[in-house]
């Protein structure tokens, strides 16, 4: 028996390989590099790897190929989304690497030590943070990049696990409020596993469906790659309950990662408990990955079933927007507020996904990038507002911050205005793009819901603005720490991108439009 190895286009998947290599190297660094030099080595390694991957990705910009035996598709959306993940991950790594705000950095040295014990107090006072966070982050980035270019459901599932498991661990690494952090990690892990089970069951059902369809006379299709699913779904009218049950469960798995209602329940707790840099990483990069995969599944595999899934997913989109917008009104913690805002944004992204036209793909991708920049900048500001107990995230503590530090209050105001979708910020352009695409696709009902919830959502943002500027600073108003070079760099990139994409969005819009074509 001869085994035929699949052809692999190594150039096309080079960015993936680089990230995987960097992650593996990171593990070796943990083992062999002396403790003192580890942090710097890891930071440089991660950033260099990301930049190298980005450079290689740019050289591959024209590649359109399905490779590795049909497991990986390198096409316009895959490249665009991988590039977005890399750029946003660079910002997130900058935040993760910041050590000037707090002695030893925002991460704990040994997450497994019992909270409150003698050892714990000692490490809280002295020990440097765990550098394992870098290989974890790079593995997650690798998983996300694979997630958006996976061309069959099994590869997609593996990518999902590769990106999720490191994230669960990273959530538990907070130096302060360790119990909350551990609780968040455990919740995320349990619910994530639960959602993965749905995904996997969905894969099984879809396999069941394709296996019952004849691909050729006498031969059953029987596969979970997207081309086979597409062919089977357009061909056979039988057993469609299997197909749709499968699609529903796969969608549930993806919507969990995307934080869409009613699968959003983990989001506020995890966003609040995780170290803020990790929260920023999740809010930006995980969202790109989840929506990238969702776009691919819906547009490539289940393209023919659009009229059947749009009403249900549309209802989910509206529910997501409503839940996110309405619940953010009464939040009193800034990180929870941003979590609900991220839920609402998942709803707007779903509107773009469901547009069903090519502009839907490109506007969703534009939205992901624009939102990613802004949200990382927002969390960067959150890391700066501190008191003796670490970050001061309760809203009441931010009252009068404009008097204390007009520059940072001004920057945060700008970020909030971008979230609210005020013109001259990227928030306006991206909302405009997805709503415009949805109108072109005939999904007017989604746009109406989107505009109404946007109005509701403006209230909590503006409430923060009003608090910062129009309240008197109290005794307990925290100070704003001077950001280190890394945080400052991330903040500047995020704010500048928010402004540039609001004022001159045409280049990126054109790029996302050119890239907005899947291959099958």
């Amino acid at each position: 028996m001869t085994i035929k190895f699949p052809d692999i286009d190594y150039a096309a998947i080079a960015p993936l390989l680089i990230m995987f290599g960097v992650a593996a190297l990171g593990v070796l660094v943990e083992a062999f590099v002396p403790k003192r030099a580890r942090h710097l080595t890891q930071l440089v390694l991660a950033l260099a790897g990301l930049v190298a991957a980005l450079v290689v990705l740019v050289t591959q910009a024209e590649t359109r190929v399905v490779t590795a035996g049909g497991a990986i598709a390198v096409d316009g959306p895959a490249l665009f989304l991988q590039g977005s993940i890399i750029v946003l991950a660079i910002m997130a790594v900058l935040l993760i690497g910041e050590r000037s705000l707090e002695k030893g950095g925002p991460f704990v040295a040994q997450a497994a030590i019992t909270v409150g014990s003698e050892d714990d107090r000692r490490q809280a006072a002295r020990a440097d943070g765990a550098t394992e966070v870098y290989p974890l982050a790079t593995f997650a980035i690798f998983g996300m990049m694979l997630f958006v270019s996976a061309n069959d459901l099994l590869t997609m599932f593996i990518a999902l696990e590769v990106l999720s498991l490191p994230l669960y661990l990273m959530c538990a690494l907070a130096r302060r409020r360790r119990l909350v952090s551990q609780e968040a990690a455990l919740k995320y892990f349990m619910l994530g596993a639960y959602a993965s089970a749905f995904f996997l069951f969905g894969v099984a059902l879809v396999y069941g469906f394709t296996a019952s369809v004849q691909a050729a006379p006498g031969r059953m299709a029987g596969g979970v790659d997207f081309a086979t699913i597409h062919a089977a779904a357009t061909q056979s009218p039988a057993n469609r309950a299997l197909l749709f049950g499968g699609l529903a469960m796969i969608a549930i798995g993806l919507l969990f990662k995307a934080a869409a209602a009613p699968f959003h329940v983990w989001t506020p707790d995890v966003y609040q408990g995780a170290p803020t840099a990790v929260t920023g990483f999740m809010a930006a990069c995980t969202k790109v990955a989840a929506f990238g995969a969702l776009l691919r599944v819906l547009y490539v595999a289940f393209d023919g079933a659009r009229w059947d899934f749009t009403p249900v997913l549309g209802a989910i989109a509206i529910l997501t927007m409503l839940v996110g917008a309405v619940l953010s009104v009464t939040q009193t913690d800034l990180k929870r507020l941003l979590a609900y805002s991220s839920i609402a944004n998942a709803g707007y992204l779903l509107v773009g996904v469901l547009a069903g036209v090519r502009e839907g793909i490109s506007s969703t991708m534009f939205y992901l990038v624009a939102y990613g920049f802004t949200v990382i900048a927002a969390f960067a500001v959150v890391t700066l507002v501190r008191d003796a107990d670490g970050e001061a995230t309760h809203l009441s503590r931010w009252a009068g911050l404009g008097r204390r530090s007009p520059v940072f209050a001004g920057v945060f105001t700008f970020i909030l205005l971008a979230f609210a979708g005020i013109p001259l910020t990227s928030g306006f352009i991206s909302k405009f793009a997805v709503f415009g695409a949805a109108l072109d696709g005939g999904q007017t009902w989604l746009v109406i819901a989107g505009v109404i919830t946007s109005m509701v959502l403006a209230f909590p943002y503006l409430r923060v603005v009003v608090m910062m500027w129009l309240s008197e600073p109290g005794e307990s108003t925290p100070t704003i720490a001077v950001p280190g070079a890394l945080t400052a760099a991330a903040l500047v990139i995020g704010v500048a991108a928010t402004l540039v994409l609001g004022v001159a969005p045409a280049p990126l819009l054109n790029l996302s439009d050119t890239a907005g074509q899947f291959i099958r």
Partner: protein
Amino acid sequence: MEQTIEYAHATGVLGSVWLLIAIPLVSSAVILLLGRRSAKFAHWLGTAAIGAGFVLTLIYFFSLRDQPNRAVERNLWEFISVGNLKVDIGLLFDPLSAVFCLLITGVGFLIHLYAVGYMAHDERRHTFFGYFNLFAAAMLLLVLGNNYVMLYLGWEGVGLASYLLISFWYTRPSAATAGKKAFLMNRVGDAGLVIAIFTMFAYLGSTNYADVFNGVGGLSSTVVLLMGLLLLLGATGKSGQFPLQAWLPDAMEGPTPVSALIHAATMVTAGVYLIARSNAIFSANEVLQTVVVSVGALTLLIGCIIGAAKDDIKRVLAWSTVSQIGYMFLGVGLGGGAYALAIIHLLAHGFFKANMFLGAGSVMHGMKDQVDIRRFGGLWKLMPWTFGTFTAGWLAIVGFPGFSGFFTKEPIIVAAFEREGWTAWLYGWAALLGAGLTAFYMTRLWVLTFLGPKRWTEDIEHPHESPPIMVGPLVLLAIGSAIAGGLMASPVAKWLEPPLPHEAGHPEPVMSHGVITTLSLVLTFAGIGLAYLLFRRGTALVEQPAGVVVTAARRNLYADAFNEIVFEKPGIFLTRALVFLDNRGIDGAVNGLAAAVGGGSGRLRRLQTGFVRSYAMSMMAGALVVVAAFVAVQMGWLS
């Protein structure tokens, strides 16, 4: 007489005609942006900018002779391009714009010069010159545009400058109020102009002068009437004509050079310019012309009557401006050759009225800002230059033979008598009566100010003549007042064609030319004599009880009271009603909605328990619903 209007493209020297607007605009921007740092040189920069404008205008003026049709057009760049609507930033330099430019820059330069001295003790003199140059730039844009949108830009620009300058001393409540009043009443007129421009878009698809005037022949008379009436509304607002005359006298709260330049010589004549420029529209409809003539005749009498009852030197001059512009409206309303007469009277008026305003300013300068003519008297000996130059202006406005007013007002009166039928008698006699009344109230002003016994307030000991920088412009303007009548003898009237219509042989007046002139002279001298006899011994120092007519005149013929009752009171009521509705109705609904969202949010929040088991439950429930919905949709149960 159908002929197509075309303008040559501006080349050579005339290609740079935009400099006329750019120079004062840049100067104004420099002064206003530098603020206090420009205080040392702002007045000279501002004056030099206008002086340069005057020199340039002269150059352009003389190179205009060689152009075909004596008109050139220059489209600088596209301003608005939306669908069929296309508006260019375009300029038109023809004889009509040219004479206005000469007036604005020439008289403007002298008034700037005067203001250097007059405003010397004001801390914000630099700001004043910044606004003053802004006004000049806007006014030049108004007369140089080649379409109605450009005209409107200038129109609003001068309105802004006028508002800023009237309330220049904004710490005085009266000045702030007067600025607001001018602004509001001008808005009424501006609304008319805007709607007129929209009407042009709607019916002609263009606002270019050439397109509009060529196209107006093809419009129904109703549209022309509507367009014309709306333009007229705009013109009455800017020029202080009935029914929007009430703001102009209050505008005298601004510094005196402002009153001279903006509210006498130039801006307030923009209405006359508008009608003269749009003569193709106004000549196309008889009813329209009659309305314009009526507005002019009525306003000139209103101005005279109120002017005769006022005791504030600047207000008397202001009402006299209202009245003189009434003459110009009468002229442009009569149509035909009278257009040119109105423009020439406008030029002469620019000289003599600026002259008298600056003279009044000179008197105030020496009398500690006193404006009450009952507290002047005997100033001729102490202020010989002011007295001499003011006298020239007085002789010009009353139409004393040999002075400009005689040559320029007389033909308008004759032209009024040239109308057909009984209207000739009506408008002719209105104009004649106006001439007599003008002589009366202007003589009253002159006698009470300069002649007779001293009636000064106690704090004034030695009134003094103004410094040379103020007297110099006065002398030049006085010379202008005396000889501007010579324009009638020159070929200017002929030269103003083609922008103004050709005089197609006038009908005979209902009375002979000689009779009219004699009557006019008799009335004028009667007015002068009567006023001299009444006031040569001075007058009471405070207001005396008077009959119905004088009281009415003192109250501005109740125009303010009318506005208050008809517009202000209902307006205030409407505002209050809307505020009530907004508070109770709209805000109530909005607040209720906000409370509902907040309440819903608070309740939903309780679902976020923090327990993984309940999270997993809600995900399970959601998953069941989603799968069920998918299957249901697929089975056709939902569709």
